[in-house]
């Protein structure tokens, strides 16, 4: 078990880590060239940032907060891949062009530049 003296510093470190990872995700939203590459940065990085913040409140809080933080983390773990897949499928069905410099389209619909 973690000593009681360390727990607030562990919570602070997890908050710092979560905010850092979410910053990387938001920066990817304005840096990446097209939707297919934006999916990497935004969904995964923001999800991991929320997980880290939930872990911070699960470490520091009382049981009512801990159980809800675990519930939010488990729910996001299930739903984030589904929403990412659905957005990628929508972009593919609408025929959005890939704009990354080394993009390869194997579907035969000629979406790569």
């Amino acid at each position: 078990m973690v000593p009681t003296l360390v727990i607030p510093y562990l919570a602070d470190a997890l908050v710092f880590l979560g905010v850092l990872v979410m910053t990387v995700g938001v920066y990817g939203a304005i840096r990446m060239p097209d939707t297919y590459t934006k999916l990497h940065a935004m969904s995964k990085a923001v999800f991991l940032g929320v997980i880290s913040l939930c872990a911070s409140s699960a470490v520091a809080g009382d049981p009512a907060i801990t159980y809800r933080a675990i519930l939010i983390g488990a729910f996001l773990l299930v739903t984030t891949p589904i929403s990412t897949f659905v957005i990628a499928r929508a972009a593919f069905l609408r025929g959005e062009k890939m704009e990354a410099p080394d993009a390869v389209d194997e579907s035969g619909r000629d979406l790569a530049p």
């Binding site: 995700g25 935004m42 911070s56 929508a90």
Partner: protein
């Protein structure tokens, strides 16, 4: 010490919220806009989690849970409507 960490985290998350709202407005492709809207709602839920953590109050965690649930359903509906022009 811990109050300073939470204060800086609040300010920085608010900056991220403003940047992602600007991304929802400024992006050209509709699928990327749906993705940015999902990201904005997740950042809002993270802000609620942070507030519950700072104030030791569990009511804000309920709001964050419902917000992430509604973000999932909204993204699903918007993306399915955008992709194949029907929801069900």
């Amino acid at each position: 010490m811990h109050e300073i960490v939470f204060y800086v985290a609040f300010v920085w998350m608010t900056v991220l919220l403003v940047v992602s709202a600007a991304a929802v407005i400024r992006l050209r492709s509709t699928a990327a806009r749906i993705l940015a809207l999902d990201m904005l709602t997740l950042i809002l839920a993270a802000l609620l989690v942070l507030y519950a953590d700072a104030n030791r109050s569990s009511y804000y965690m309920d709001a964050a849970l419902i917000l992430s649930l509604l973000a999932f359903v909204g993204t699903l509906v918007l993306a399915r409507y955008h992709g194949e022009r029907k929801i069900f």
